[in-house]
Symmetry: C2
Subunit: 428 residues, 2 copies
């Protein structure tokens, strides 16, 4: 754990290093991924089957998909409390995302120029669901529901089933979210199959969802062939807390992020040195109780940071530089600090809003920009599954009003045919 | 030029080939670009200066920027008609994009869960402006104005000035659009400088704008380090026209796209074989009048296509498969066909709406998805320069209402610390 104090002379340098620390895996998989993409593009299903056999130790045979019936059964077999919790989550996520649907535009100006924009969903979306540690039913809901709310007709899940093993919880969530196809494939080969299509698998238009370095690199390389969501990195939280918080709550909040991944990062900014000490101590106590202690301790020891400031007024500037995925503000008047925060994936306001409640049931999406990408990108939304077509309609009077200016500009740019397409209509 | 007829037996195959023809340059520049990016990242300004000297035959010396004064002078020296046309374009583009600004959300549900989203501009945006054939003042307006409407405080233009030559029209447009900095650099090295920052150049958050294969590849490789707009390919138009159109107008429309680039593509779909013949003939007449005939003829001969259909009712399905950047519908009731078009960058409705009027002065953006990317992406908008921060606020009652479901899900996912951060607050 790193301990900083904004009054120390070396603070600026140390904070700069903290901001620059990207925690990305440096594994260079670009070459291997491009070989896999080309292989799947050329040999289709054959390549997918061979790679699945090699990487997942699973022989696809003629059993490439998991049926809707199997997903429904997984849902039916959930114990009642868990099923109710999933249903509540789905309902709240759906409600929040339904209000995200963008409005169409259709206006006519004083010259008679009609201009507008029409939003439509993509035809098909692919959702990558990891097979291992990060296979969460909550992620299935958070990725699939916005696609369905957007109106996507064909929502395709790909998920590796190493040695044939499936995750019933994830299948139950797929049923609840209305997923249309589930394919037992993963890795870069699954992304390639979704992007290019194969004999068995029709291509999709957009691919979203978390994955390992190979999956992320495959998505990056295929950006432009299909639409993709943001490049995702390890999770992070920034807690801004005064000394009036319960150190036990704060320690639990910091560890809830740390338990995700050894590369996850939890940062506490506080103006109370004694509170900082108590939280640091309390982390040890909490860790002793956690089944996830190994991962959480590695994350906290390697990336955990406590920053002591003279006043919490310093916090927004630090938060904006860090542009964290999650920012929790545990003060009496969180709004005062929130107003000054420009860059954050999602903000959790007040002492009774632990980040974890947003991971599951609040409603807003938990797929959020990491690694300082909140400077320029947003959490997943229905917009990731929709696109906008603009339109223009002129009558003769309208073209007479604004056409001559277009001719002037086209001529200045040396684009004579552009000018001429207007001139012939105006009889010039 | 390719001539197809939907009644021919080989039509389906031939149309599939047309859809699959991406017209992208196959130049593999990925390796060279990654070397340049690493060089600029490591050596900063020194690398930028050397690469500019090598590729642009221009010695930057201490003269890296073009001042605001020089841009203002270029604007003041425009002849009055051209200045008025630029001003009209800027005014209309600004008005259309101002209505794109997204609304914030802030709602509280029956449980007392407050949820919302706040949109903010990125701090800084970079705009690539090519130095050669594609350096258009209209593109400067179309890229820069949405950034300024979004509220971007620092808008940075990079543009190569081969042998020191600048384009006064582009500088005039930069002045009009309110660009904050203009750097005389181009190529992958300029993109790297914007993304990583150097001693002279502060980094930006988002990079937009057209460029050659090197620029496009640099943007693709830096996607995630910064936000970028869509990968751009050669321009294209799809014209849907009945036999009642003036063949001269239609020929002019097809050539207005063709003159952009030998790789541009113009496609006509018509239900009138005689009209198709007349347009094909008329193209030759028009070409003889065009100063841009060399490029336009190469594009038309190589990629131009006329598709004859039995009825225009077939057109929307073909248009959706092509997902063209521009779709022009020249019929009496364009709305009837438009309703069935799902995938298009921008649609131009009716006989008096040549695409060129949208390139300059209508108002909607002319930066649009090419190469079938209208299936999943949209034209440039203020949203490309903004990002959304979601937020959540619960009080004790709200946490009591929905917290237990979150605990249930966290436990099911094996994320004990997530559950615990809620349990400690509820005294469980």
């Amino acid at each position: 754990m790193l301990r900083l104090n904004s009054r120390d002379s070396g603070f600026e340098q140390a904070f700069k290093r903290l901001v620059a620390d990207r925690r990305e895996s440096e594994t260079s998989v670009a070459r291997d991924v491009s070989v896999i993409l080309a292989d799947v593009r050329n040999r289709g299903d054959q390549a997918v089957a061979e790679l699945t056999s090699r990487f997942d130790a699973h022989d696809l045979g003629n059993d490439w998909t998991i049926s809707a019936e199997v997903c429904r059964e997984a849902f039916d077999e959930l114990k009642p409390d868990l099923r109710a919790a999933l249903e509540l989550a789905a309902k709240r996520i759906r409600a929040f995302h339904e209000a995200q649907r963008p409005a169409d535009r259709d206006d006519t100006d004083k010259h008679g120029v009609r201009m507008g924009a029409r939003w439509l969903p993509v035809d098909a979306a692919g959702l990558y669901v990891p097979g291992g540690r990060a296979a969460y039913p909550s992620s299935m809901l958070m990725n699939a529901i916005p696609a369905k709310v957007a109106g996507v007709e064909r929502l395709v899940v790909v998920t590796p089933t190493p040695k044939g093993q499936v995750n019933p919880l994830v299948l139950a969530a797929a049923h609840l979210a209305g997923v249309d196809e589930v394919w037992r494939i993963g890795g870069a080969q699954a992304i390639a199959a979704l992007a290019y299509g194969t004999d068995r698998i029709d291509p999709v238009d957009v691919i979203v969802g978390p994955g390992n370095a190979w999956v992320a690199e495959a998505k990056r390389q295929l950006f432009g062939v299909v639409g993709i969501d943001m490049v995702a990195g390890p999770s992070e939280i920034l807690l801004i807390a005064d000394g009036k918080n319960d150190p036990e709550w704060t320690a639990a909040d910091l560890l809830s992020q740390a338990e995700h991944d050894p590369a996850a990062q939890s940062i506490l900014i506080t103006d109370d040195p004694l509170f900082a000490d108590t939280v640091a101590d309390r982390i040890g106590v909490e860790l002793a109780m956690l089944p996830t202690a190994r991962v959480a301790a590695e994350s906290w020891n390697t990336h955990g940071t406590i920053i002591e400031v003279a006043s919490l007024d310093e916090a927004p500037a630090l938060a904006n530089a860090l542009a964290a995925e999650h920012v929790q503000i545990a003060t009496d008047d969180p709004e005062a600090l929130f107003r000054q925060i420009r860059h954050a994936g999602s903000v959790f306001l007040g002492r009774m809003t632990p980040e974890a409640v947003g991971d599951y049931v609040a409603g807003p999406n938990h797929v959020l920009p990491t690694g300082r990408r909140a400077r320029f990108s947003s959490g997943l939304s229905v917009l990731d599954f929709m696109k906008r077509t603009s339109f223009i309609q002129l009558d003769e009077a309208a073209l007479k009003a604004i056409g001559p200016a277009a001719i002037e500009l086209a001529d200045a740019e040396g684009l004579t045919a552009h000018a001429r397409s207007i001139e012939v209509r105006l009889g010039i």
